[in-house]
Amino acid sequence: MFNGIRTGAGFRRGAQQEMERMMTQSLRENLNLVSDPQNLNQSVEEVFHMMLGASCYQVQETPFEEPETITAVVGFGGLLSGACVFRSSSSAALEIAGRLTGMEFSEIDDTVKDAIGEVCNMLAGAWKGSVPDLSANCGLSIPAVITGSNYHIHVQAPEFRLHHMYRFDQTTFAVTIICDGLQ
């Protein structure tokens, strides 16, 4: 009986490993789909339209309006590892948090950080949801938020990186998808 249970569990583990191997292979074969820049644009537009009632569009890379910036990071784990990174100037963050909550903000307080973390969380979820194989097999971390000036985020040799800048009202923000591995 115990042997039977062990054998059954072993079979299930084996089948699961085989399924994960096939999905990874499928993800690698469809890397162009996973890294399709349009998926990111659609995800960003969807989140801003549905949650902020605002439109935004991709623009050429430009420097932020001010040195003080806010960055939110949501990690990916599972079949794909990496992160979704949102970055904007402080004034853009105040504007986005205001639109999201219906409140007015004059400084980057905990509520603004929470709001920007949630925006990043929804962007990460919408982006991975746009790729069927990733949707169920890639988990999201709790958002982390960083504020300050003159800091850089370094990732060593990612498998791929999407970096887009968007205009929202009179401000801009950047969204970066970093994939540092397909497990």
Binding site: M50, A97, T111, D114, G129, I142
Partner: protein
């Protein structure tokens, strides 16, 4: 509609406020909102108070939304009370897990107030009719 008591469980206070605003826009007013920042806090609320509706995130520190749901059903803490998951996780697998754990509804973030209304009101009507 008589005064509703709603429990909103999400580690983001901003998201709890957005969900509350969407419920009010859906017509749930007057409404008493109870908030919890994790599944553990949500269970504590339910041990002391009764509610008509529970909305919960899934990805939360300390106790995630699915475990919270299993605990509610396992401990029979809110019998007959509809639970709706509101989450960025949108795969069929996540929906299946939520339904198997005892959720009656599922709303994917990002969402509109209209979507909240469409998912929540029929559940409340059905619960009231039981």
């Amino acid at each position: 509609m008589s005064e509703m008591r709603v429990l909103i469980v999400d580690d983001s206070s901003v998201m709890r406020k957005i969900v509350e605003r969407s419920l009010r826009q859906a017509g749930l007013d007057p409404m008493v909102v109870l908030e919890a920042g994790s599944g553990t806090d949500g269970l504590e609320v339910l041990q002391g108070q009764s509610v008509h509706l529970i909305l919960s995130d899934i990805n939360m520190p300390s106790m995630d939304g699915l475990e919270f749901l299993r605990q509610i059903r396992g401990q029979n803490l809110a019998p007959g009370v509809p639970v709706v998951m509101i989450t960025t996780e949108s795969s069929e697998e996540h929906v299946k897990q939520a339904i198997l754990s005892g959720a009656q509804g599922y709303i994917r973030k990002p969402f509109t107030a209209e979507q909240v209304k469409e998912r929540v009101l029929p559940l409340l009507a059905a619960a009231e009719g039981r």
